[in-house]
Symmetry: D2
Subunit: 364 residues, 4 copies
């Protein structure tokens, strides 16, 4: 398996760099006969796009996707689907002084050592959050596939920014409200507070992190393979491909580790002739396999590493301690741009497993 | 990639069932020329072995490993290394009534549906925690390889059982004390409280979960591939292969998501001519790549699903609600048996990446 | 993908050495619900077994297979199926003088260099033809799967030994006669000549090669993926895993390269309402995809490298030219033992592709 | 592994269609620090380019390659290298009547059935020989890598067209003469005859096939993994990805199968202190591993399927027998365009194995 690819049957390959010519995605293994067009993909990309709000970076990218292979007369052909975005608003000279001064929290230093300085360091190069647009390109196709074939829907939203948490439980009605505000939190009051805290951090040249919660409904029973290809294994592998993610939990997660078995076990019952569980502490996954309940995931994002405050660091050329103020245009908080990315990776993983389990056929 | 395998260059394939003839592991891609013998592997297996303490299941398994291929005159040959354990203390009839009554928290129900009742349900079959012995077989080899070639060491210990947490920070001296008590917590006082809480839960027919912390030292800079094969992606994929794991975090993890960037960023400095960071909120991983600091992971285990208290459930045959008391011999808390398993999966992942990055050669 | 494994969805992993404890196979990805028992596998193994005829090696191996995982109450469970054979009739001391004298035609020299002398050289170790028994174990399951689900049948036979070729075209009736004689050639007269030529070569301390032809019928249209996973790509990859194979051709093959397009093109026609081709120069594969006609393959085996005639060689220790007479028990011609091996690899490849194409479901 | 990719460590992914927007290649796993530019790749592409001679198709494609990721300031970065060619000279309407009339020898019929008519049929779509340009893009990088790091060189030439064969043995001096004529046969007299035979076939609306021989020198000992990833397995898998290839042999191949072991074995000797073999019937590969002798491969190409003669076929819509004259611009013989394609696939496979064997490091 190439290292820049993910998936068993539905495989996403990501290519490109933040300040290179292009970023792109190849999706291999998508069934023939799925109706796909650039609008489907563009809509998801626009949700992730920078430069549209004060709380995101001011880099203005059109992020206009082009499908350059694999779709014929509006339908997938079974051949690899390639999508690209040409990079436009690059200001690479902002990064010239980063060649020697190590940015705290970034991949600069390990990447330099790993690649013996051959890596493209401009804007973080291959390690930039910008590459998550390639996840979204692939994810848009997977989402469509899941929707059309199995009715599966994934909704991710901002649950927490810094210390401000949405306390209300997420429910079905909220799915319509996620994209109504620019923090992507369906509770308006919480959203306002989150927004204020991001703007305040930005003013101080500081940054914030937060938590995304993702809920997937209509998942059939039986997705996931035992042991090394459990849903939790494959979902977490996919989600940790997002820069800044440092934690993940399913169902009751870390809190559940403090409970008794008698409290945490989800008891089975029957509702309208269907076997379900009364609670969902398992997050819809038992033994690595979907049990038909919603899949619930919480994902921790660290605060963005790029801050404009002065930081102490090392100059790798002089091997001396020095100060650094990170230039360039950065997100004071990446969390609000993350929901479509999380949605995408969840969809890619579930579509992959639905193909593995024979629940989606290779030709529609 | 077969679904029951994990790894890019160093690949572990797991086979066997809890109550079948055998459980086993094939390790492919281990460099030729590594001195390996059954004692190295047995030592790790014994740390995981059940039946040795009141706080674990009373199933008594010798768990005696046999190397049946890939080692010649005490050294690895470059060929696949196969190791097996013959199952001995099986009491499969305990599981006959489970054929129809769904055990809450277990994979029984989704597995039945997924495999159309062809799966081996005895003792959880393929989904049993017993299979983690195959991780340990592979891990013992990976640990040896990392130790001999790069000096890398992984130490995992019980940080929390239920609500009882070890508050002291783990340090180097503690590595010697992990296996001195049967809860695998290096702080004696905390260990005593943990032990008491497990025994108390057991008495009530209940179970507990907890948290394992894993610290890996001497990691060279540059392990991990960008995006889909980041260290976090591959470590989490490996670790979620352990049944009962429901959460994972690296470095400051979920707590870090509440901090400001100025608090969470690890500032670079120079110590004895070496570039290091003053703090380690990143858990030794930046941009998915090791930065030379210790890799720190915390892993949440749910309370064991098998409890002897009466639980309400559904009988899949009659499709009626019924009561269930889980028979069989079970762990009241699996956490104390998990440290060698976590050690193993961390070692397998790092050895795999060291091979990928060319830091370990294919022939020693 | 581990290097000792083959397949996309149905993956065979081979382990073991000629003179080690055991040889074995793990089959991952076999659908749950296939009736399988050791007799099915043993029958195929017996066709390959040495020591049963004067024209094969006199090493007497029971080659008794044991299924040690993945089958429960007579049916596959969806878990990896592991099969092993314990090696019994080993005479390893025959190989002690081979540690330094290079056997012409064998892997000894490149293997020594590759593995820096850590490889198990006894009886060829990992490179021995004995390992093809692991292909047969996996192949027996694949054959059964293809038979039960799609009615596909593979028949391979000895078409040529040295310069003696069966001129008659293979037909359906002959499928019953392949195993009636010990050269596995369904034409009795040719078989007698072949047998005589092998015995004559043996007497002179020499060896012979030959050609196996393989015909597979009832193949549905649509197996094979374009470009890198074409049927020809994957069949040839599988078949070159047999030691001694040095050539392969499909349909009209090398002879076809001398024809005009107007001669070699297979014209379409309709027979009993079904679209077929009048000829089968394509060998049942167009654009890498099965077209519903029989898949025909011819495979060239070099003469066995182990001959008891004195040969000039180099002693790697002294770096001097020396003479060598290969000791040990060897096949004067491996071709008669190859048909079940070829059948196995063809079946594994087709079953793998039938799963990929959704023509076999993951649970029966 | 995605089905449209090939390789273990150096992975080529191919995308695009003959009459789509673009064809392209992603190369993942190429070491960082290799000097690469578009000229290196263009040179190889030009050797394969159509429309430059009377003996090839008159489709005029610029085949101008653009590197759109993975190269920074002239050197590879370790990130995936993406290369594309925009298709220009498409005449898709030539293919409209092919939607129903099955072209003999082409993939049309099985592809239609496999993809339920969703495949892009224009110009053969994904199955077109045009896609071999993606092999050449990847191969140009692999060739450079092998040359710079290990001095390995691959030279492929036209050995036979129809019944006209170059009888002289290929030698080192000839490597300079391969591209001096448009049939790519280094012997001028044979080349003239070959050319005449192609033009004559073309005049008759017919086509020819032939044989390519490929010789690779300076191969180090030890490339290739035992059993399923033998050099022969992986080379043949790669080479059968070329449309029209129906046979392959290594060393003495099919002819060798008629020899005695005493004739076919290559005896070891010492030359200038180096262990070599006196003959090279093994084609440089023993036990699937390179033995340091030149790797010699012969590849059979069927005559091109597209001929302008009238052929009988079936109309899939009417299910009736009908006549067909293939329109469009076609090669009367694809063999002269194949040498750079074969060179590319051999180079990709050897570079992949050199990385696997640790003979090329992941960062130069």
């Amino acid at each position: 398996m190439p290292e820049n690819s993910i998936g068993h049957r539905l495989v996403l390959t990501s290519f490109g760099e933040s300040h290179g010519e292009t970023i792109g995605a190849v999706v291999d293994g998508c069934p023939a006969g799925l109706e796909v067009n650039e609008k489907d993909i563009q809509k998801m990309l626009d949700y992730r796009k920078p430069g549209t709000s004060l709380i995101t970076t001011q880099r203005k990218e059109g992020d206009k996707v082009e499908i350059i292979s694999g779709v014929f007369r509006g339908f997938t052909t079974g051949a690899p689907i390639t999508m690209i975005i040409w990079n436009s608003d690059k200001k690479s000279r902002d990064y010239e002084n980063l060649k020697t001064k190590l940015r705290p929290g970034h991949s600069d230093y390990p990447a330099m050592v790993k690649y013996n300085h051959f890596n493209d360091y401009r804007g973080g190069g291959r390690f930039s959050g910008r590459l998550t647009a390639t996840h979204v390109m692939g994810g848009a196709i997977a989402r469509k596939l899941l929707k059309v074939t199995l009715g599966i829907e994934t909704n991710s939203y901002t649950k927490q920014i810094g210390k401000i948490e949405m306390k209300k439980e997420f429910d079905k009605i909220m799915t319509k409200s996620i994209y109504k505000n620019d923090v992507r939190c369906p509770d308006d009051n919480t959203a306002k507070n989150m927004r204020a805290s991001i703007l305040s951090a930005r003013k101080k040249g500081d940054s914030l992190g937060g938590i995304i919660e993702s809920i997937t409904t209509n998942v059939p029973i039986g997705l996931g393979e035992p042991i090394f290809s459990s849903l939790e294994s494959d979902l977490s592998k996919a989600i940790f491909s997002i820069p800044s993610v440092k934690g993940i939990e399913f169902g009751s997660g870390f809190e559940g580790s403090k409970l008794f078995g008698s409290e945490n076990n989800d008891l089975y019952t029957i509702k309208r002739g269907k076997i379900i569980t009364k609670t969902n502490n398992s997050g819809g996954i038992l033994g690595g396999i979907s049990n038909g309940m919603p899949i619930t995931i919480r994902i921790a994002f660290k605060p963005a590493s790029s801050i404009s405050q002065k930081q102490s660091t090392v100059d790798i050329k002089t091997k001396k301690i020095t100060n650094l103020q990170v230039q360039g245009r950065h997100d004071p908080c990446v969390v609000p741009r993350a929901p479509p990315v999380v949605d995408s990776l969840v969809a890619l993983t579930l579509a992959d497993h639905a193909l593995l389990a024979g629940q989606i056929k290779p030709v529609l």
